[in-house]
């Protein structure tokens, strides 16, 4: 599947109807999501034929992108039932097979070495401090091949240091810097739209 086609399909997905600010629910736009998963597959072969988990899947964008690029099995995990309902509808609309699990990432207990790759757009930790690091720490314990994640560029040095020194990552690489379009979604958003600089990371556990 070509990148443009993938981006088109992801652009048609339903997103959060009533986003919850305390969970930092922001849709991963089709532009970023398509490039993220396309790179994971084309540069690293981390998607096709693999078992992929989407941590904090929301409405399922990254997991769905993985399924579209040939992941053998996809599991999306989120704490919010409304998002999971939308995610389920998105999957049905595209006639894909994606499993979902309602669970808090902090209490998740996935046994074994079954998950190859984790893809995620975790909370940045603006609401619940340290949420981004919780997601990163857990993902490095679960994935056996690679973790793809988005974090604010302003946290780059902290992320790299923590991943390598504290979470025992073999490598932590910024694949590219992207602009995350955040539309005016919440009452506290003053501007119509804002660009946040985010890094696309690839970690090897």
């Amino acid at each position: 599947m070509k990148l443009k086609q993938l981006e088109g399909l992801l652009g048609g997905l339903d997103q959060f109807s009533q986003p919850k600010v305390e969970l930092e629910q922001y849709p991963t736009g089709a532009h970023i999501a398509s490039r993220m998963i396309y790179t994971a597959e084309n540069s690293y072969e981390d998607i096709s034929g693999k078992i992929v988990a989407d941590f904090g899947c929301g409405c399922g964008t990254l997991g769905i992108a993985s399924a579209l690029l040939g992941a053998e099995h996809v599991l999306g995990i989120d704490v919010d039932p409304e998002s999971l309902e939308i995610a389920g509808e998105n999957v049905t609309d595209l006639e894909l097979d994606v499993d979902f699990l309602r669970c808090d990432i902090r209490t998740l207990n996935l046994k074994g070495l079954l998950v190859d790759t984790i893809v995620m757009n975790p909370p940045f930790g603006t609401r619940k401090k340290g949420a981004d690091m919780d997601f990163l720490s857990l993902s490095l314990k679960v994935a056996s091949r690679a973790v793809y994640s988005l974090h604010k560029t302003s946290t780059r040095e902290h992320i790299k240091r923590t991943a390598l020194r504290d979470y025992n990552a073999k490598s932590a690489e910024v694949l590219c810097e992207l602009r995350f379009d955040v539309p005016q979604m919440y009452k506290f958003h003053k501007k119509k739209e804002v660009d946040i600089a985010v890094d696309l990371w690839r970690f090897v556990p």
Binding site: H73, G88, L101, C103, L114
Partner: protein, 122 residues
Amino acid sequence: MRLLTHNMLSCNIKGVTNGFPLKLEADKWVTKEVDLNADFLRGVFPKIEWPALVAAARALDYGDLPEQADGSMLTSEDFLRRFHHALLELHVEEGALVCPETGRKFPISKGIPNMLLHEDEV
């Protein structure tokens, strides 16, 4: 929920040491055919908890998996087909996952298990 997912899930209640495998109680399930990928099956086989898969498949009235399995069976197309079917083609829609140690039930609704813990379980 596919049985491949079931094979990964363990009870996450604080203090539980024997939370795997979760017992599967299924009220509704469906079969969805999907292409068999032999390379994938051969690669995933060593990571699968076989008895848990057999028990879960039986809960879905699928009794065609051998009680015990080893790597030499992976050359058999017949075995691969049964393994593939149990692992990837059976989808639980409604039911529950039961913790073997505490008996706590995690409901499965519309194919999605709810493993969100109560405050006193964390």
